[in-house]
Amino acid sequence: MQKSLILFMLLVSLGLSAQVTVDGTVTDGTEPLIGVSVQVPGTTSGTITDIDGRYELTVPEGGDSLAFSYIGFTTQTVAIGGRSTIDIELGESSQVLQEVVVVGYGIQQKDDLTGSVGVVESEQLTDIPTQSLGQSLQGKVSGLQIIPSSGAPGADAIFRIRGVGTLNNADPLFVVDGMILNDISFLNPQDVESVSVLKDASATAIYGSRGANGVIIITTKQGTGEGQLTLNAYTGTQEVVRQIDVLNASEYATLINEADVNEGRAPRFPNPEQYGEGTNWQDEIFQQAPIYNATLSFQGGNEESSFNLSANYYRQEGIIRGSAYDRFTTRLNNTRQVKDWLTVAGNLNLGYNTSDRINTGSVLATAYRADPISVPRDSAGNFGNASAIGNTGNPVASIFYTNDRAETYRAVGNTYADIRFLDGFTFRTNFGLDFVYDRSRNFVPAFFVSASQQNQENDINVRNAYRRNWLWENTLSYARDFGVHHVDGVLGITYQDNFGEEIGAGRQRVIGDDPSFYYLNSADPTTATNFNGVDGGDWGLTSYLGRVNYTYDGRYLITVSGRADGSSRFGANYKYGFFPSVGVGWNVSREAFWNDGGPISRLKLRASWGQTGNDRIGEYQYVPRVVSNTGAVFGGEPALLVGSTVTSLANPNLRWEETTQADVGMELGLLNNQFLLEVDLYRKFTSGVLFQAPIPDYLGADPAVRNVAEVLNRGLDLGANWRAGGDPFRYNIGVNASFVHNEVIALDGDTENFFGGALGVGGQLGTNSRVGSAVGSFYGYEAIGVFQNEEQLGQFPQLGNQQVGDIIYRDVNGDGNVTAAEDRVVLGSAIPDMTLGVNGSFSYSGLELSFDVTGQFGSEVVNAKQMARFGAYNFEDRWLERFTGEGTSNTIPRVTIAGQNFETLSSLYVEDASYIRLRNVTLGYRFSTDLTDRLRMQSLRVYVNGTNLVTSQDYSGYNPEIYNDSLFNNGIDQGTIYPIARTITAGIDITF
């Protein structure tokens, strides 16, 4: 009834305006084609086909034909000829898979690429409910490892492309719509159209000094076709993926008693049984936490102009109480062809977010360590004193007394103008700006829980900071076909300038505890402290870049590129570096001799070589700087006089870190490209690795950044995809896998050892990047048993004053002594041998089921949180299996409060970090056009999603992927990283 009414109205309007409406279905002969562009040539009228391949279009006066175009298919133009329904069958174009790929400073046909580039499209990005683009990329591209290092609300993921060359910041470079950025936390994944992951040097060398860790190019959505309004919303709940098994109260009391006896004290708990289960501190800090997201976007466009406007609100409460993240972003992309030779465009992203912060590390570590006998709060409501026995704080009190809120305002945008002239030349000038303004306000009330957990005067601290980063790029590009020859190229000059500054102050004795008093003026001015200085970087880059692509008949491809970079981070003699590359490709399946129509529908071979660099070190590292905060007190009336000294060494000979990468790749399509396979073998050699390597303390100052090592990564990236089925059942299975071998080739000064990774109580160095081993390999003793009796004490050599019940360490060189110098060995590495991603989707009519599985294999983790014992901390439940007398245990030693068995890194604390995780499952239903038409919608989809539902891992901690500040510390679990969450959400996507 309603439908006919609409039809009637349409007819009426038709009559009035002399317009006609045409509908129909576009197929490839068997399946409907989704997203086919349908245009009325000579007008601005156009649309795209929906999920069922259907389109409906109002043809304005003067329109007499329709043009159907779709990537990979031949464009067809048909006369309307008075028809109201036109069904079209598009034929695949002779050039199969004419996928367009965004590369550095340009776009290319995927077939013409000589480099290794992984591409992810928008549909694949939004199936996981997350505000983080990184998390939505996990498992999607071979060679791209995404580490969900933290489950903190709003936290971004860690990106690693093709192993780890550098020891510092190994993040790839991010380029968003041409704007080069350090982080992309402001991006809403739903705004993203496509992501290109540039992996080899042929692709990355155009980014020169910053391409060594790979480049991720993000293109946000531009409007196309008829105006559209889209609403995406989901809501859900999160909980911690798992808890760490620690002792309950009576078990704890039993073990502490035992430790007391073992260490020569009287046992302190007369009746351990009486304490029962006691407090589960993890239950006390974790919570079920809601998550919400809503995005509203408007888009539209034609050949002359397009726009995309979106607004997003996201709220995530933390699975640790007291933490939360709220974000509001809005984005406007606008493109306009002003003249036939001039196009201007602008992209603007405005964001505002707030974070309620807690001291995550300390809260987690104390919840893990706190004795289960003490209580979060006693019967009178006072916080329990967890330091009385166990010498930890009370994590619940710590959360309660924290009032720390940070706000960030961020504007990221760029504008550019393209000027086309002569035949095939385009000059582009692009100016981008990233402006960040941070505010934080932290109030701590006066409180007393215990001697080690108290604040005697309340205090307020505020901080305001800004950072701005501008980029100006001028490029001249050229593209032209001469018969079978295709040539394109780009030349450019770019500048980037980054500066940031912070200012802050603090006072004590705030006049009230209410948030309305959280201002400096409400506190005692005599207690004022303040600070102001450079923060967030002071650096600049000047670059000259160029690239030429030549293609002969679509069969033979060559790319040559280079970039010269000058960086402010190096001293006068070492500022400039040059980074060249060359890539070649051969589209074998386009050769005349190739048997068209055979099972192999596509075959391409390619190879590349090139160099890239890395300058990501702090500022001014080439000159020793004098700090003036080392004052001393003097005088009969004491006064603090200024003291100035050097606290960090410097290195005037600092130079670029340089990565030389060679890559050979093959792309294979079978059965008319139902099956696609892409394989890349690479060798990535990094010399002059920049790192602030630890130096002996006897040198008296913090280490300088040095060019410390040569590191080799060689590996294999493999991506395969199978799609099959037709109407109504279709499915797609993709697998990608990466194998990396990481090895230190040489060390600065021809040394053999390269220590790092402080852990445990005494800060012993737990990693040694020895020549021949992986960077950041765990290094310690091999635990081969537990001294069972006095006889064994004589039988095996000892480390220090060992007793029965202590760990037997292997005397590796068999000299009858166990020594630090000669008996420590490599115990593992945090770098996985293999990472795996499997994704699949199945659809039957409107029902869709998709999943992602990710995993890593062949890596280890150091459970260092067990080793750091400054008091009678709780134990993990493996200590229930401890040695209590001959024959009781040959793996877990006797229990003590602390001491060598804990403090010394041995294989006892190294665990397997392999895991496989069902990262995502989504079940969705797309309603039929019958319904959506009635609701005047283009499409309507509802879904439920589960993230991190099931993980198979041996590791006893929350998550075996431990990412710390440097590679030396990776894989060392100090128990301070915000655990990841298991999330269940339900959502709806509506397009009008």
């Binding site: 009385a388 500048y495 004098v626 004052g631 001393a632 003097f634 009969g636 050097v646 006897y698």
Partner: protein, 488 residues
């Protein structure tokens, strides 16, 4: 065509503009800081560089937690204290079960070498400051030399031979341990430099800087440690005869606010509690009363052995130890017992009254070298070189002040060398208790085994006299450092 031409001009202009406007993008000047290229240009900067050497004295890693652990707690004077399991690495030190990865040796190693670095920087750069008062230049070099000597003195006493680094930026990063003799030769040389270039006293805003007297006293102590009794006696007598120093009349008063920088003070680490912080130390906090009143963490518990070591009626026992139930020295409260602490008592010498900035902002100067110490050095050295009468004079000066007019602590009269030696040693223990001298006294007089073994069965002779070189340092030195015997 005209349009095209002007377009080219525009493009050309844009390229030129961008090339010239941005040429300074990569030329940066460090913001808000001097660099070594433009510092050390005037007198004020020279002074600041030496102030930074003093700054390190006040730090956690130099004179606070681990320092107390490796001087008092390790000795027979005190136990770890505090809650049973708190600060467990110091319990290991107390029981001699510590290994090369213990926190304490690594902490002081870092703290003292940071001081050495800053001294080296000042000593090597101040001579090149273009224009400054020559006396001031020499004085500053003297101050930095003294402090370098002091830092090395504690290092060599804890660890034996250590890397002897005099250049702030050595070419080679792997540096072996210098022999003990060489370290002491440098200490003596630096102290002589200080003696020659430092004034006998300061006034006004310079009070608290080291003097020639400080350097003489420290040299006397170093010489005594080396059993160079002639030099120890000479240097101690120079201090005594300088007339700059006198015993503070009230023993307990030395450790109060009024007793700071008193007539008895040769060297104190200066600290002050300002509202805005930044000038205090945690020396007081770690030893402060734990629980009620809420003054600190309660470490460095006076041992039973110390309590019973005082002579009958020695008022110094009361002045040294703060008992549960005792009224605080300023009358502001009573120490209440904490059931979690065994045999609870505290170091009263580290007690400070209520002050701004919380417990962690302690105002108490850390007394490093007192005149009484110098008198006892003189007594010990003179006795060793056959001048017992003079030795007795100085020993009894200390006893006289200690007795505070009461009829206790009679003068020592023996001139028997062995007896007098024991008398001086006992006096040192009572006079200097919990002022972080005891362990060094035990080791230098070769008594650590006989004293500690009965109390701490784990004590291993020819091992525990020295602390282990931190394993981290051995690792990072690429094996240039060799571990002390017994620590593998």
């Amino acid at each position: 065509m005209q349009t095209m031409k002007s377009l080219y001009q525009c493009l050309g202009l844009a390229v030129l503009l961008s090339a010239s406007a941005c040429s300074d993008v990569i030329d940066r000047t460090p913001q808000g800081q001097y660099t070594l290229e433009n510092f050390f240009q005037n007198e004020e900067q020279a002074v600041q560089s030496v102030n930074a050497v003093y700054n390190q004295l006040r730090q956690w890693s130099t004179h606070v937690f681990s320092f107390i652990g490796m001087t008092d707690i390790v000795s027979d004077d005190s136990d770890k204290g505090s809650l049973v399991s708190d600060g467990f690495f110091l319990e290991e030190v107390d029981r001699f079960t510590h290994t090369a990865t213990n926190v304490a040796p690594g902490t002081v190693w870092e703290g003292y070498y940071t001081g050495v670095f800053r001294a080296n920087l000042a000593i090597t750069r101040i001579p090149e400051v273009p224009e400054m008062d020559e006396d001031l230049r020499q004085r500053l070099i003297g101050e930095a030399s003294f402090l370098r000597a002091y830092y090395y003195f504690n290092l060599v006493r804890w660890f034996g031979g250590v890397p002897l680094i005099l250049d702030p930026f050595p070419q080679e990063l792997q540096i072996a341990r210098a022999p003990v003799d060489e370290v002491y030769a440098q200490i003596e040389s630096d102290l002589r430099t200080a003696i020659e270039s430092l004034p006998a006293s300061y006034s006004g805003t310079d009070i608290g800087r080291v003097t020639s007297g400080t350097a003489r006293g420290m040299l006397a102590k170093a010489a005594l440690t080396r059993m160079d009794y002639e030099q120890a006696a000479t240097r101690a007598l120079e201090v005594i005869n300088s007339g700059e120093y006198a015993l503070y009349p009230d023993y307990a008063g030395i450790f109060t606010d009024a007793g700071e920088n008193s007539s008895e003070s040769l060297f104190e680490v200066q600290a002050a509690a300002f509202e805005i912080g930044g000038a205090g130390s945690q020396y007081n906090e770690v030893q402060g009363v734990r629980g009620t009143p809420n003054l600190g963490w309660g470490f460095n518990r006076p041992s039973d052995d110390l309590v019973s070591s005082f002579e009958r009626g020695d008022p110094r026992r009361e002045a040294t130890i703060l008992y549960v139930g005792e009224i605080l020295p300023d009358g502001s409260g009573i120490v209440e017992g904490d059931p979690g602490i065994e045999g609870e008592r505290f170091n009263q010498k580290a007690w400070v009254p209520d002050h701004p900035g919380g417990n962690g902002n302690g105002p108490g100067n850390i007394r490093i070298l007192r005149y009484a110490d110098v008198l006892l050095i003189a007594a010990e050295a003179l006795n060793e070189i056959g001048r017992p009468e003079e030795a007795l004079t100085y020993l009894n000066m200390v006893r006289e002040r200690a007795r505070g007019g009461a009829n206790v602590l009679p003068d020592v009269t023996t001139t028997d060398q062995a007896e007098l030696r024991q008398a001086v040693w006992r006096e040192r223990r009572s006079e200097l208790a919990l002022e972080q001298h005891r362990w060094f006294d035990l080791v230098r007089t070769n008594r650590s085994f006989e004293v500690m073994k009965p109390l701490r069965p784990n004590f291993t002779e020819n091992k525990n006299e020295l602390f282990p070189i931190p394993q981290t340092e051995i690792d990072l030195s690429e094996g240039a450092l060799v571990q002390n015997p017994g620590y593998n």
